[in-house]
């Protein structure tokens, strides 16, 4: 078992095995999580909406299929919850914004639809930074999510509720979105696994956009293997998403690929990011050295990989986000700016006064940087770097212009379009989780998952849960 024998702390893989073997009732599992949500959500603010009646109905349907030996697959009866920017039919989807408080979509986002078709049980909708960028914000109707490892700490964002809910055992898995790190930051700060898949691998149809040329939807779960199980259900061409690309899943699927071992892989360490460009804290540097040792022990060859400065990737990523997000929100920002949180305005409004040429030059430079980063995959199978420069900061210490003022380790993979994931590779002396980031070439998602899984297993990080 990779998770625990406590129901709410089961990994998806373990729960699926128990459901398949008729040792676990989907209804019992769902009720266990609903009870826990009721008890802990007032402290964590991970959920914006809980869909209890629908969840029980879906769990009963899964249980009937279980009894008839007609389970749809490994996600049948598995309780999940979705970032509140994923459209859900008949269920309010707010992007945690006043502007969408009454928004009830008529159809599911394609990724949600695929998970429902796979038999997953939706527990509800999760907190996000406003429109996936404006947060943490205390001037919205609902407060930001809190980190289960220390509720005074930041979850990371923008898939903040996803990180908190999975770490706290309020959902076995989730869907998040990543435009500039929004899956990987909460995964790192909350000690879970989060994959930003190859751009276009997962449909974004029905996902409220932030910056369409960068937006990527992806799975978040307790383990890399669980992310593979979710990816198996949601990956695939969608002719109605203009950015969707055809792809071929690995033999046996992504979850199976995650378990295949990593002996013989060539790993490039992107040291300059965490040693020079944005120096990490001592505990992260120590963790990176330990990760390098583990990777060698697992049979990988490890060498230093050099690439353009983090500042260049960050500039491109942030300028594109600002310009595209402003364009999407122009009508409301120009007529009722006060309807947005201050955090949203600080991060997006400047996009309205930047020059068109800066946006265009950012797009041109994006191509050059992507080519340079992706060229490294002629020498390496994956690149490894830190996920964040330190463990989760206190909520009170997060500044509104974070992200504009400081580069992040996440931007390179958003710029390159390749897959990248954060897995929990250890803990700081104060008990907070530390993330390790693995970056792959476009369509190298299976290899990224395999490295993530191997690191989780070797580090033993999956045996520790937040005490709540």
């Amino acid at each position: 078992m990779r998770g625990s024998d406590v129901l709410h702390h089961l990994s998806i893989a373990d729960a699926a095995g128990m459901i398949r073997a008729r040792r676990l009732s989907p209804v019992e599992l769902t009720r266990s999580l609903l009870d826990r949500i009721e008890r802990l959500n007032p402290r964590l603010d991970a959920y914006l909406t809980v869909t209890e009646p629908q969840a029980i109905a879906a769990a009963r349907a899964a249980e009937r299929a279980q009894m008839q030996g007609a389970l749809k697959g490994p996600l049948a009866g598995i309780p999940l919850a979705y970032k509140d920017i994923f459209d859900t039919e008949g269920v309010r989807t707010t992007a945690q914004s006043r502007l969408l408080e009454a928004n009830v979509p008529a159809a599911d986002a394609e990724a949600v639809r695929r998970l429902a078709a796979a038999g997953a049980v939706m527990l509800g909708k999760l907190a996000t930074h406003e429109f996936a960028i404006g947060g943490p914000a205390f001037d919205l109707p609902r407060p930001p999510a809190r980190n289960p490892w220390d509720t005074e700490r930041f979850t990371g964002g923008s898939s903040s509720g996803s990180g908190a809910a999975v770490a706290a055992g309020l959902a076995l898995g989730s869907l998040g979105s990543d435009t500039g790190g929004s899956i990987r930051f909460p995964a790192a700060f909350c000690g879970i696994a989060g994959l930003k898949p190859t751009a276009g691998l997962v449909s974004r149809r029905g996902v409220i956009p932030l910056a369409p040329s960068l937006d990527t939807a992806g799975p978040m779960a307790w383990t890399a293997e669980d992310c593979g199980l979710l990816l198996d259900a949601i990956a695939g061409y969608d002719p109605l998403d203009p950015a969707s690309v055809p792809s071929t899943p690995p033999p046996g699927g992504y979850a199976a690929a995650a378990r295949r071992g990593i002996k013989g892989l060539k790993v490039g360490m992107l040291r300059r990011f965490y040693e020079t460009d944005l120096p990490a804290t001592a505990e992260v540097l120590e963790q990176m050295a330990e990760a390098e040792r583990l990777l060698k022990e697992l049979g990988c060859s490890v060498a230093t990989a050099d690439c353009p400065s983090l500042l260049a990737f960050n500039a491109v990523n942030r300028l594109i986000i600002c310009a595209e997000a402003f364009a999407l929100h122009e009508a409301d920002l120009t007529t009722r700016p006060e309807a947005y949180s201050r955090a949203f305005r600080v991060r997006v409004m400047a996009g309205g006064v930047m020059r068109a040429t800066d946006y265009i030059q950012a797009q041109r430079h994006r191509r050059s940087l992507a080519a340079e980063l992706n060229a490294l995959f002629e020498r390496f199978d994956v690149l490894v770097t830190a996920a964040t420069p330190g463990p989760a900061p206190r909520l009170a210490d997060v500044t509104l212009d974070d992200g504009l003022a400081r580069p992040t380790y996440a931007a390179p993979a958003n710029v390159s379009g390749g897959p990248a994931m954060s897995v929990c590779a250890g803990f700081a002396p104060n008990g907070l989780p530390l993330g390790l980031q693995i970056i792959g070439p476009p369509h190298g998602d299976a290899t990224v998952l395999a490295v993530g899984h191997a690191v989780e297993e070797a580090s033993g990080s999956r045996s520790r849960r937040p005490a709540l």
């Binding site: 260049a312 300028l319 120009t334 305005r345 309205g352 950012a362 430079h365 212009d401």
Partner: protein, 112 residues
Amino acid sequence: MTREELDLLVRRAGLTLNAGQKADLAVAFQHLLALAACLPRRRPLADEPAFVFHPPLSPPGPKPGQGAARTAARTPTKTAAKPKAAPKAQAKAQTRSQAKGKPARPKAARRR
């Protein structure tokens, strides 16, 4: 940047901001200027691939209930290499697509 210059930019953007919102914008804009300064400006004139517009690869698919012959003829499937089998296979694929109410998949997608 002077207050007047910022006011001009704000007006051009169509924004109506109070003093606090304008102060926030000024701080954020300084960050954006610093980010924009990181971008290389001297690129070859022909370095244009970032501007490429990809037009739809096939005409819009027929609406459910309409004839399929025209679209099927323009979107050959892999079986097109076998002339005898092709029309049947195309018609079958088109019927499936129509039954699901989905538009025809772009040609490039099929090739991969």
